[in-house]
């Protein structure tokens, strides 16, 4: 299911209407942002609220509704393909019960980021970045050692599952 979604959006820009079935949601993308047809309503509650925990779909839909300059400093709005990539990450997580992110936030450079924090968040964290071009990247940061890894992730279930395991191992060591 998730694998078919990106092609459904391939020709849909931010202002175009498009639909895609994904993980039980029928997702509409249009000028009013992303909404789902599960009878739920999503309201922007401010970027500084509800940053941890909660329903990832609801949070993702909040982020998807952001518009250009949402930070007042020229940040691009999340693209259609970045939203789809993020939905794929959420769907893959549901197949990997041990994989839980701590934050889901908009990327100031455009796109959406899943953030995983270690026991001492200031020392280590990891993220899966879904960029506005559709590229996915795994980021591992060890600030204490001043080292980091950034590499491309394939947008498919096995690669995501492997990435979750790598993040777990990184944050636990």
């Amino acid at each position: 299911m998730a694998g078919s979604a990106p092609s459904a959006f391939a020709l849909a820009g931010p202002s175009d209407q498009g639909t895609a079935p994904l993980h039980g949601y029928n997702v509409f993308l249009g000028s009013q942002g992303v909404t789902s047809t599960k009878g739920r309503s999503f309201v922007m509650v401010g970027l500084s609220q509800d940053v941890e925990g909660g329903d990832p779909y609801a949070r993702l839909l909040q982020i998807a509704r952001l518009r250009s300059d949402w930070d007042g400093r020229g940040a691009p709005e999340p693209s259609a393909i970045s939203v789809i990539r993020a939905l794929e990450v959420v769907a893959a997580m549901e197949d990997t019960p041990s994989a839980t992110f701590d934050r889901l936030i908009p990327d100031a450079n455009g796109g959406i980021g899943f953030v995983f924090l270690g026991e001492k968040p200031g020392e280590r964290y990891a993220s899966i970045d879904c960029s506005n071009s559709g590229q996915m990247m795994l980021v591992l940061v060890d600030r204490r050692k001043r080292s980091h890894v950034v590499r491309e992730l394939e947008a498919e279930r096995q690669a995501l599952s492997d990435a979750f395991a790598e993040i777990d191992a990184f944050l636990e060591t």
Binding site: S48, R73, A75, N109, G113, M137, V139, H148, V150
Partner: protein, 153 residues
């Protein structure tokens, strides 16, 4: 009209970057908070010298609540960072290139304190597009690691 450029920026001067709560983890900032542009890795910062007080760097768009401040000093910018970028000849393997972060005064008519941190390619120091999204993100992560979060009052 912008004020005249004032360079070099002293190595001790603090260059501020405002953050949302969600962009801070412990005493570090998340790289996702840095906007570095589409091609040329560069990031806006606000010079301490031209702010009446550091909190002035928190000013943003109405409705956007910047609540945290971070800073980096030019002396604390990352050492030369090597990243892998695609070869211009796509049939050949990727190549490794080194970049150096530099602080550049960049006042605008509305923001005297505006400056930029740019990634300059070595050895010539040219500021050019980096044609790999992964490489640009790696440069962004390296830079983010050098910011210090100002403790909340």
């Amino acid at each position: 009209m912008s004020r005249p450029k004032d360079e070099p920026i002293p190595s001790e001067e603090r260059l501020f970057h405002a953050l949302l709560d969600s962009e801070v983890a412990g005493d570090t900032i998340l790289h996702l908070s840095l906007k570095i542009g589409d091609l040329i890795p560069r990031c806006s910062v606000w010079r301490e010298k031209y702010l009446k007080e550091p909190r002035d760097a928190l000013k943003g768009k109405p409705g956007v609540v910047y609540s945290r401040l971070s800073y980096v000093r030019p002396r604390d910018l990352p050492p030369d960072e090597e990243v892998e970028v695609p070869n211009s000849d796509q049939k050949k393997p990727n190549v490794r290139r080194s970049y150096r972060f530099i602080a550049v005064d960049d006042p605008t008519p509305s923001e005297d304190a505006h400056a930029e941190i740019r990634a300059a390619r070595l050895p010539d120091g040219a500021v050019k597009p980096v044609n790999s999204e992964v490489a640009r993100n790696a440069l962004r992560v390296a830079l983010a690691m050098r910011f210090q979060v100002v403790p909340s009052p």
